[in-house]
Symmetry: C2
Subunit: 207 residues, 2 copies
């Protein structure tokens, strides 16, 4: 059982929150719009609670599930309230054509979060290669993760396993740049090769 806080009330927040409740985790939902957070917590059921935006989150793992441009500002706004937390960045900083990243080449949102967060916090990139609509179906997907802190990565992996998903480590936080790039490939597949949003990347040998 992991205690998590989800900052955000969109599709990914809802999908992760639902799986987290089903997996027996303690879930806190936080939104800048308190009523939306309360609505989502109610919809999630279980023991889901609502937290106050900007206050110290109840969860040991804090999943920042907001649009990419808001991720670092949210972390900055929280400041020392995130001390000691494991911060999970799930964002996809796509440019408008979805063929490049809307951030400099030598970084990633996850790495920028690590710069902005308290030194005692750890950052893990996860979930960004999965569509919320697919995640919501509750199938056993692969979740690619990266991060520099092995203990934090282990905690996130354990949480992911509680969702009946398979965590797959791709390396250090620098790899978050390439996971964000892999997010672009997933989008490219959805709009070209596969042509829908009913799939996920997996590490398998079919056949």
């Amino acid at each position: 059982m992991t205690s998590i806080s989800i900052i955000g009330t969109g599709n990914m927040a809802r999908a992760i929150g639902a799986l987290a409740v089903a997996g027996g985790n303690k879930v806190e939902v936080i939104g800048r719009d308190q009523s939306k957070a309360a609505d989502l917590a109610k919809a999630l059921g279980g023991s889901a609670t609502t937290g106050e935006f900007g206050a110290v989150p109840a969860g040991d793992i804090v999943i920042v599930a907001v649009l990419y441009a808001h991720v670092v500002p949210v972390v900055v706004r929280y400041g020392d309230a995130l001390a000691g937390k494991v911060i999970v960045d799930i964002s996809n900083p796509f440019n408008s054509a979805a063929d490049g990243l809307a951030i400099p080449d030598d970084t990633s949102i996850a790495q920028e979060v690590a710069k902005a967060a308290p030194a005692s916090a750890s950052v893990v990139k996860a979930f960004n290669t999965i569509f919320g609509v697919v995640l919501a179906q509750g199938r056993p997907l692969d979740v690619f993760i990266s991060g520099d802190d092995a203990q934090a990565k282990g905690a996130v992996a354990e949480f992911i396993e509680s969702l009946k998903l398979r965590p797959l480590d791709v390396g250090g936080l620098k790899m978050a740049h390439w996971l964000e790039g892999t997010g672009l490939v997933v989008m490219g597949l959805a709009s070209h090769g596969v042509g829908n949003y009913d799939f996920a990347l997996g590490a398998t040998v079919p056949g």
Copy 2:
């Protein structure tokens, strides 16, 4: 039936060549070392032939299966001999730590090949997210491809289908940069999350 030429005699050349022969395609093997090319053509059996390095390749599709640093020099060396051909770049320009690309951020080996090739040639990125050892197993893997020329991409897709593999278009040639980055994620999975080379990325919804 597609007529292809493979420049290179390594593991990927062998794996693609074997599947191509099994799929009923016409296969020419070309190597800077002519005897190695002849050995591979013999090993492939079927109607596989050996071509002369630098001469006009027999195949309509030319697969450049050499180490990444040699890809552009080979294309430059060929020059007009590649006029009208569909050039397939399968390379992975990894840095020594395999957490970044050994080329500038705004390009890819495939895009550099397009700059170096004759104007009448087309370039398609393909196969770089698959380990040769897995490809050699003959299982029905997903092959991610990108390119700007729809006709060339269609020809490569048809060839890939003859190998009993599934071609999945991720978009224009600019996406080759992110396919090369996805190659890094595959390597990261092999050395961390999966811990072996017995898998491939696929676009699936398991369960």
